[in-house]
């Protein structure tokens, strides 16, 4: 059973210039006890996807079709606002990008960590004990005294660890991590990733990890979903996708990763062109306009094709060009 199973998800935003098709036919699974990474450049729909899962889409956003099945039984798109609210924080929790802003500046950390347990029905001393336990788990030194301190008295990395502690406090089934290491420096990034992996194993939850940092995804995740302009262009295990990238976009993305550069260059490689206007989606492949391997077949609708078990891609070159992809 998958913790989260998304299929055929279509999300539109109504704008003054007509509807904007933000997510198109998005589908992937977050299997139990696995870490799934979502990678893609800014504006590819990563945040819209999170908000759709959490039921927190902006007022002009609308899920037109598709299912988001949680723990095999509940379709989150059909759940009432109240039912969704009861899931958030208990079964599904979130860690955000900016550790500076995620904590309320005027309340002590202890107050916030006991506050967040308001649905547990425990006594105050039990909540405090739980908060201390969680702080120790995320390796905050002097956890007992840390409770009395305010967010500004902690460093950015510590604040992010406190946010992670708060997210995992109720032992959720699914943790959504929205670029949790983007605001941290490289050293902190590594320790935070290790901590996250450690905690995930301890608690036994699934993690949906959003990042644009390919190295982090490769390090942390079991599976990866590559998104482009609101579509899943390629998905599979990290090993499959990173070693045998089958979509031209994935290949270009990997080529642009500074960590994979073998030669010193003055200018880092980029993918020329821009994401298409989502108010007027191309009928065929979304990446066609920027693709080097473009041909006539690209103007037709691209169904998801299977490369091997669990490795799927939305590109009609799969099969014929696969060997070249391996060489690249």
């Amino acid at each position: 059973m998958s913790t989260l199973s998304i299929s055929g998800l279509n999300v539109y935003f109504s704008t003054e210039d007509g509807p904007l098709h933000a997510l198109k036919d998005v589908g992937f699974d977050v299997p139990e006890r696995r870490i799934v990474g979502i990678v893609g450049e800014s504006g590819c729909g990563k945040s819209t996807l999170i908000n759709a899962i959490l039921g927190l889409l902006a007022d002009n956003g609308d899920i037109r079709s598709g299912e988001i099945v949680f723990e095999g039984m509940r379709d989150l798109t059909k759940l009432s606002a109240r039912g969704m609210q009861d899931l958030r924080g208990l079964r599904i929790s979130t860690v955000f990008q900016d550790p500076m802003g995620a904590l309320n500046p005027v309340l002590s950390v202890g107050r916030q960590m006991t506050n967040i347990q308001y649905r547990s029905g425990q006594s105050h001393s039990e909540k405090v004990a739980r908060a201390i336990e969680m702080l120790k788990l995320v390796r905050i030194p002097d956890a007992e005294n840390a409770l009395a301190r305010y967010p500004h008295q902690f460093s950015g990395g510590m604040k992010q660890r406190i946010a992670i502690a708060m997210a995992l406090m109720m032992e959720p089934a699914l943790l959504i991590a929205d670029e949790p290491t983007t605001a941290l420096d490289a050293t902190l990034e590594v320790t935070t990733i290790e901590l996250l992996k450690d905690l995930q194993e301890k608690i036994g939850c699934s993690v949906l990890f959003i990042s644009h940092h390919l190295g982090v995804i490769a390090e942390l995740c079991d599976d990866v979903v590559v998104m482009y302009a609101g579509e899943v262009v390629e998905r599979g295990t990290v090993r499959d996708v990173f070693q045998r990238p089958s979509h031209p976009y994935t290949r270009r993305l990997l080529e642009c990763d500074p960590a994979r550069q073998t030669q010193r260059t003055r200018v880092l490689p980029t993918i020329p062109g821009e994401i298409p206007d989502l108010r007027a989606r191309p009928a065929g492949c979304v990446f066609a306009a920027r693709c080097l391997d473009r041909h006539d077949g690209c103007d037709q609708h691209q169904p998801e094709r299977s490369v091997s078990g669990g490795h799927a891609v939305r590109c009609n070159l799969v099969g014929s060009r696969q060997t070249q992809g391996e060489q690249a």
Binding site: R88, F96, A102, P105, V106, L107, I116, Y118, R119, I176
Partner: protein, 276 residues
């Protein structure tokens, strides 16, 4: 506690606190401090000057002015505290609704606040008293009508600034309800500056009460109020100035005390001035 120590280091704050405590002390222990009845008329003792018997003299009806001033302090503080507390409560609720609620409601409330603000206080008082007749309640209602728009606007602005901050989004994504977000996250961010503002508004409230009572729109005779004492002495200010002084001095003491205290509180609690 650090804030209290900082307050006690500021000479102006200590002075303000002393004046305020003096007024509060006088109001609470009025019955112990004087044996005179503030409303008993004594025609033989009219217009007596200050003496050991009548510390501040007597008025045109022979009533002891010291007793009237102390009991008038009760009225002034009662109006100030009750109306400020109610104004704060209404202002916070309306401000949160305007700041967090739908756009149209925000626009409607802002229109309402502006309309209320556009009335001069005296006009508002006159209009209300014409309908209800002069009473303490009328004074309190006028003060509330004058104060609420300002408080609500501050709460609204703060709410709008805070509701988009990441910790509110985080709380939302962790399943917090709207009331919970307002109560746990937005209120504590709003309440500090508001309380300081309210403490600085207290002298204004006391002046409104005195002013309305002076004009005969507030407390009804024979109940003592600083404003009505001032009015009693106003006619005879050349012959018996102590009546006007007895009414005016406590107003000056109280407003000065609260102003000094409020300003020092603001400086002490303003985070931008911290650590200076």
């Amino acid at each position: 506690m650090r804030s209290v120590r900082r307050l006690l280091r500021e000479p102006l704050g200590v002075f303000g606190l002393a004046l305020v405590l003096l007024v509060i002390f006088g109001a609470i222990f009025a019955d112990l401090l004087t044996s005179w009845d503030p409303t008993r008329i004594n025609p033989r003792d009219r217009f007596l000057g200050p003496s050991t018997d009548h510390l501040l003299g007597t008025d045109q009806l022979g009533r002891d002015l010291f007793a009237r001033v102390l009991h008038g302090g009760r009225i002034a503080l009662y109006v100030a505290l009750v109306s400020t507390a109610i104004s704060l409560a209404i202002g916070i609720v309306l401000g949160l609704i305007a700041g967090y609620g739908p756009r149209w409601l925000d626009n409607l409330l802002i229109l309402l606040f502006d309309a209320m603000k556009s009335f001069p206080t005296v006009m508002l008082a006159l209009a209300l008293v014409t309908i209800t007749g002069p009473s303490l309640t009328a004074v309190i209602v006028v003060v509330i009508l004058v104060n609420v728009p300002g408080y609500a606007r501050i709460v609204r602005t703060q709410t709008i600034a805070i509701k988009t901050s990441e910790f509110v989004t985080a709380a939302q994504s962790m399943g917090a309800s709207t009331t919970r977000i307002l109560r746990v996250h937005i209120m504590p961010n709003v309440i500090g500056p508001l309380v300081i503002l309210a403490s600085m508004d207290i002298p204004v409230v006391i002046a409104i009460e005195a002013g309305m009572s002076f004009l005969g729109l507030g407390v009804r005779p024979p109940t003592p109020s600083w404003g009505s004492i001032l009015n009693d002495g106003f006619g005879q200010i050349r012959e018996t100035p102590w009546i006007a002084i007895a009414g005016g001095l406590p107003i000056i003491i109280t407003t000065l005390g609260f102003t000094f205290l409020g300003e020092t509180l603001r400086d002490v609690f303003d985070p931008r001035l911290k650590g200076r």
